[in-house]
């Protein structure tokens, strides 16, 4: 058994904010789709069969918390994953749900 983790009240707040991001299927789909590649808003919307506006709103959330990065390419905005341990975090959760009986 490892030692007690010290987490401050402020960190609890930040941490819950952070995990809340992963608690929405649309955002997970976006992150999953962007993993290993980059894609513009329209492509994402089509691939996920959702309205451009909904995708755009969620991309804003993901960008704010620095999980995705955006660059402009002509008319398009190209999004990609911005954080290296996103995959790790996803895998950790997957392990949990996959080992259920």
């Amino acid at each position: 058994m490892s030692d007690k983790i010290k987490i401050s009240e402020q960190e609890i707040e930040e941490l819950s904010q952070f995990y809340k991001i992963f608690g929405d299927p649309t955002r997970l789909r976006i992150l999953h789709t962007l993993y290993g590649t980059e894609m513009c808003v329209g492509e994402l919307a089509e691939k996920l069969s959702m309205e451009q506006s909904a995708i755009s709103h969620q991309l804003r959330v993901l960008k704010q918390i620095k999980l995705v990065a955006a660059r402009r390419d002509g008319k398009q905005m190209v999004y990609s994953l911005a954080d290296d341990h996103i995959a790790q975090i996803l895998m950790m959760g997957l392990e949990h749900i996959r080992e259920e009986d």
Copy 2:
């Protein structure tokens, strides 16, 4: 760069459900408090300065998704963490928020 992670639609749903649990400060406080020890509902309520009922409701959520385990000890119900990678998952999130500039 590691390989593309394959996640099914159903897993996306389960995964978002799972992360949603960590997306609430009260539940994070409970998990953090229970880390390395066990505690009954009343103690948790007092320690977190919240109503017994609120704690109980959240413990039910945590129990349903098998993040905490409960055993009865006389009048009390004693709760403890049920999953080994809870700490890992918390640490992973902490790493992310702590490395922000």
